[in-house]
Subunit: 246 residues, 6 copies
C-alpha cells in the first residue's frame, strides 16, 4: 500500500523559467533512461519476486523513491514553463532568443498539457511499457537496474551541463547522487549473490554442460580484412565467470 505527503524529496526551484529546458527534462521523466521506467521496473520486479524477502523489500523501497523523482521532475517542468508564451502567436516573429526558445519548446506543452509535464520523452515520444524489465531472474534484473541507473545518471549529468540555472543544477545534483547510490546498491546485491563467478553466466541454473562447448568461450570473428584483435581481455585468460578459458 502507498502513501504520500505534500513535501518533495528534495527542493525544486527554478530561477529563470526556460521552456526549452522543460522539454529536455521530459527525457528524464518519460524517456527510456527516465524515472517512470526505473519506478515501474523496481516495483514490477518486487511484485513478481519469489526469492529472499530482503531483496523484494529493497526493490519496493527504491521503486517508491522513484515516484518521488518523477514528482520532482514534473514539478521542475511546470516551473520551467511558467512565463512561457501561452499564446505562441506574437513570439513567432520576434527576436532571436525567442527563436532559440521556440526551437526547443515542445508545442504539446502548450497545446495538449496546458504548461504541465507529460509522460513523454524530449521528442514527445510517449513512455512505453516495453522498456520495463522484470525477468524473474534476480541477477539479470540487477544488471538491468545498474544499466538503467547508469544511462539515467549519464542523462542527468548532461542535463546538469545544459543549464546554468542554479535551482535546476541543485536539483540535478541530488538526482545524480541518488543514481550513484542506486548503481552501488544493485552492484551490492550482485556481490551478495556471489559476484561474477556466482551469477554468471545468467541464468546460472541452466546446466552448462548442455550448452555448445565449442562456442561458449570463444571470440568469433566476422571480419574479413584483417585478423581480429588479440590483445583484448576477451581473447585470452580465464573467462570472467571463472568457468572457462577464452
Amino acid at each position: 500500500m502507498f502513501y504520500h505527503d505534500n513535501k518533495l524529496q528534495y527542493t525544486v526551484k527554478v530561477d529563470k523559467p526556460n521552456p526549452a529546458f522543460a522539454n529536455m527534462l521530459q527525457q528524464a521523466i518519460g524517456g527510456i533512461e527516465g524515472e517512470i521506467r526505473v519506478c515501474m521496473q523496481y516495483l514490477f520486479q518486487a511484485w513478481g519476486f519469489r526469492g529472499d524477502v530482503k531483496y523484494r523489500d529493497m526493490l519496493m523501497e527504491t521503486g517508491t523513491e522513484e515516484i518521488a523523482h518523477i514528482e520532482m521532475l514534473a514539478t521542475a517542468v511546470a516551473l520551467n514553463l511558467e512565463g512561457a508564451p501561452q499564446s505562441l502567436q506574437e513570439e513567432m516573429a520576434k527576436d532571436k532568443i525567442v527563436g532559440a526558445i521556440m526551437g526547443g519548446m515542445n508545442p504539446r506543452h502548450v497545446l495538449s498539457a496546458g504548461m504541465s509535464a507529460m509522460p513523454v520523452d524530449s521528442n514527445g515520444v510517449p513512455f512505453n511499457g516495453s522498456w520495463v524489465v522484470g525477468s524473474g531472474n534476480i541477477a539479470a534484473d540487477m544488471y538491468a537496474n545498474v544499466m538503467a541507473e547508469s544511462t539515467g545518471r549519464l542523462l542527468a549529468t548532461r542535463l546538469w551541463e545544459a543549464t546554468d540555472d542554479k535551482g535546476m543544477k541543485d536539483m540535478l545534483s541530488f538526482l545524480i547522487a541518488r543514481d550513484t547510490m542506486h548503481q552501488n546498491q544493485w552492484l551490492a546485491v550482485l556481490e551478495e549473490l556471489g559476484g561474477l563467478e556466482g551469477v554468471h553466466p545468467i541464468p546460472n541454473s541452466f546446466p552448462q554442460a548442455m550448452e555448445n562447448q565449442d562456442a561458449n568461450y570463444t571470440f568469433m570473428s566476422t571480419r574479413l580484412d584483417c585478423k581480429p584483435e588479440t590483445d583484448g581481455r576477451w581473447t585470452q585468460g580465464k573467462s570472467m565467470d571463472g568457468k572457462g578459458m577464452f
Copy 2:
C-alpha cells in the same frame, strides 16, 4: 514524497491459479482502461495543477491509491501464474483443458517475465504514455477521469463475470467499489465547479462570441437516405450547457 508499507490495500487471494485469467488481468494493469493509466493521469494532473489546492490534494490522494491497485493486480497475476507450466513442452500435446489454458496464456509470462505481471495489456501491447490526459483544464480533466473510471469499472465487472474463483471475485468486488467511488468523486468536482452550465462548453474561458454562431447548437446531418432523427434531445430544446437552443 511517497511511502509504502507491506500490506496490500485489500486482500488478494487466488483459490485456483489460472494462467489464462492472469493474462486477462493484464488488461486492468497495462491496458488503456487500466490502473497504470489512472495512476499516472491523476498524479500528472496534480503535479501540473495551478488552481484551488484542494483539488490538487485530492488528485494526489487518489493517484496514490491507484498505485496500490496496480500492486494488487500485479500480485493477482503472479498468483494466477503459480503452478503454470514453467516449461511449456509437455503441456503442448496434452489434454483439452491444457489446450484451453494454452489458448489464453501469454507466452511472454513464461518467456520474458518468469511468471510475473508486466506493464502490458491482455494482447501484450505495452502501456503507452499517450493515454494519460492532463490538459490543464480541470473540467476537461474531470471528464477524462469519469471516463477512465467508467471504462475501468466496466472492465472490472467483465473480469468478475469471467471468473468463478472466489478470491478473485472478492478482490474485484473491492476494485469495482473503488471505481464507483471514483466516478462519483470526479462528478462531485464537476458539480462544485457549477455543473453543466458552469463548465460547458469546455473550455469556458474562450469567448463564446468568437465561435461560429450558426454552427454551435445545430445538429448537422450527413445522411442521404432519410431525414435525420428529430426526436433526440439533441435536436430540440435548450442546449445542455444552457447557453443556446438546439
Copy 3:
C-alpha cells in the same frame, strides 16, 4: 455506405502560410485530441452498437461529419506549407524569422510528405488506434465522447490563440462551434438515458450488491502529513449517483 462531394464543410483560407502553424495543426489531425480519433471513435461505436437505433444513427452522422473536419485541417496544413522552403538549405543560415519558422517546422513535412498533412501529431508521433474507445456501454462511450470533444475544443481554442491569420481564425471558430455542439450532443444522450442517477455507476447493469459495500462511497486518504480535505463535495452528502452517502 459513404459518399462525398468536392466542397469543404466550411471555408479554409490561409492568408499568410506558416509552416510552424502547419505543424501545430497536426495535433488537431493526428493527436489524441484530434479529428481522426473522434471520427474513428464515433464510427466504431456506431458499427458495434446493439441498442436503440436512433443513437447508432446519430453516431454515424457525427462520425461522418468528422471526416470532413480531417479534410478541412489537412487542407489547412497543405495551405500553410505553401511557400515553405522545398529545399531547406539556404534558409538554414538566414535571419531570425526563418530561425523561428525552422524551429517549429516538422522536417517530415518536407522530407516525407512533400508539403502535405500526415496522420501524426505535432511531435510527429503517429496516430494510434489504441486511442479509440468503443466499450459497448453507451454511457461510458458518451463520457468518452464528451471528454474527446472537451480536449478537442481546448486544443482548437489554443490553436485559435496561437495564430493571427484571419483565415485560420475563421476556420477554427467553426471547428470550435462544432465541438460546442458535440459536447452538448453527447450530454443530451446522457440526459435521455436518465442523467447521473440513471447511468451511474457505469456500468449500471452490474448488481451493486456484489460490490464491496465498505469501499464504494468512501473517500480513502493516502496522505500522511495531515487530514484529508473534508470540505469537498466528495466527502459529504449524497453520492452523485444518488445511490449512497459519501
Copy 4:
C-alpha cells in the same frame, strides 16, 4: 465533405458466428494490409495533391469507398462475435471446440469492446498512422497503392480460404474483386504517366546526371562464397527505366 446512408456497399451475412474468425478479420481492418490504411492513404494523398485534378478526384472517390469497406468488416466482426461467450468463465473448462475458439479469440473483444470491432490487427496491435504513405510524388504514391492493394488482396484471399462460412466467403469475394480493380486502377495511372520509362527512376525530376554514374545500373554483389547470379534480368540488358544498361 462526406455523407453516408444506412446501406452497406455489399451484403454482410454471417451464417455461423465464429469469434476466432472475428479476430482474423481484424487484420483486414486495423492491420498494415487493412482498410483503414488504404482509406487514410488515398484520402491524405488527395488532400495534399497539387497536380492534375482528375487524379485527386479519383483518389477521393476510392478513399471514400474504403470507408465503406471498414464498415463492412466492422459489421462482420460484430456478427461473428454474436453468441460468443460474454462471460468466458464456464467455457474455460469445456470441450475442445471451445478450446479451439478460445485459442483464437481476442480477449479484448470481450473485455474492452463489448463484442465489437476495434481499430487493431489480429494480434491486437493498434492501427498506426506511420503506415500511411503520401509522399507528394504521384508515381511513388501509385506504387505504394498497388502494393497496399496487393498485400490487401493477398490477405483477403487467405481469409477466404480460412473460412467455410458462406456469408463470409461472399463478402470476401466482393472485397477481393475490389482489390483487383484497385490494383488495376493504380496501374492505369502509372501507364498514363508514361509507364516505366515515363516515371522511373522515382522521382524523375531529379537530374540523373547528378547521381553517381558508376552505381546506378550495376548489380553489386555482397556474396563471398560464389559469383552472383548472372542469369537474372537485373544483370543484363537495358534497364527497366530505359535509361541505362545493367
Copy 5:
C-alpha cells in the same frame, strides 16, 4: 552467415558539421523510407523465401548491401554532430545561426546518444518492425520493394537538395544511384515473372472465378456532386492485367 570489413561502401565526408542536418539524415536511417526498413525487408523476404533460389540469393545480396547504407548514414550523422555543443547551455542565448541550428537539432542526440546516430526518424519516432513487408508472395513483395526504393530515393533527393555540403552531396549521389538500381532490379523481377499480365491481380493463385464478377473491373463512384471522371485510363479499355475490361 555475415561478415564485414572496415571500409565503407562509399566515402562519407562532411565538410561542415551541421547538427540539424544530422537530424534530417535520421529519416534515412530509422524512418519508414529508410535503410533499416529496406535492409530488414529484403533479408526477411530472403529468409522466408520458398521459390526459385536465384531470387532468394538476390534478396540476400541486396539486403546485405543495405546494412552498409545504414553504416554510411550512421557515420554521416556522427560526423555532422562533431562540434555540436556538448553542453547546450551557452548556445541557448546566443546568435541567430545557433538559433536555427538549435531549432533543428534533436535534443536526444546530446541527451541520449552522446552525438551518435540512433534507430529513429527525424521526429525521434523509433524504427518500427511493422513497416517490414514480407508477404510470402513474390510479386506483392516486389511491389513493396519498388515502393520502398521509390520513397527512399525521393527522400534522398530531398536531403541532397537540403544541403550544400559537398561531402554530403557526394554521399547522397551514391545512395540515390543505388536506389535507381534497386528500383530497376525489383522491376526486372516483375518482368521475369511475366509482367502485368503475369502477376496481376496479386495473388494470381486465387481462382478469379471466385471473385465477384460485377465488381472486379468497375470503377465505383462515391461522388455526389458530379459524374465521375470518364477520361481516365481506369474507366475504359482493357484492364491492366489483361483479364477484364474496365
Copy 6:
C-alpha cells in the same frame, strides 16, 4: 561494409514442425531480449564510437555475428511453420492437439507473412528502435550489453526447456553458448576499463564533488511499517565503487 555467404553460422534443423513454437521463437527475433536488438545495439554503438579502436572493432565483429543469429532464428521459424495449415479452416473444429497448436500460433504467420518470420515478438508486437541503447559512454553501454545478453540467454534457456525437438534444442544450445561468451566479453571490457572502481559511478567523468554529498551513498527508506533492512550489503561497508561508505 558487409558481406555474406549462404551458410548458416550453425545448423538449423527442425524435426517436427510446430507453429506454436514458431511463435515463441519470435520473442528471440523481435522481442526486447532478441537478436535484432543486440545486433542494432552493437552496430550503432560501433558506428558512434569515438574511443579506442579495439572496442569499436569488437563491437562491429559481434554486431555482425548477431545478424547471423537473426538469420538462424528466422530460418527456424520458417521450418517450424512448414506443414502448418495454410488454410486454418478445417483445423478449427478438429482435435485437441490442433486446439493446442491453434492456441499458440500467431494468425499473422498465415495472414500476413505466408509462413515466414517477422520482426515482431511472441505477442506480435513489432520490434521497436527505442530498445537500442548506445549512450556514447562505453561503461554504460557495456552494462546495457551484459544485460541484453543476460535476458537473451534467459529467454533462450526458456525456449530450450519449452521444446523437445532435437534440432531446436541443438540450435538453442549454440545460441545459449554464444550468449555465455558475449556476457563474458562485455564483462572483460569492464575489467579492462578498471572494474567497479574504474568505471563507477557511471559516468565517471562527472566531478563527484558536484553531486549532493548527503545522498550519494545513503540508502533511503520509504517504508512506514518497519525499519528498513540493515543486513544488506548496501547499508554497510565501503561502496561498491570504492568512493564512499554506505
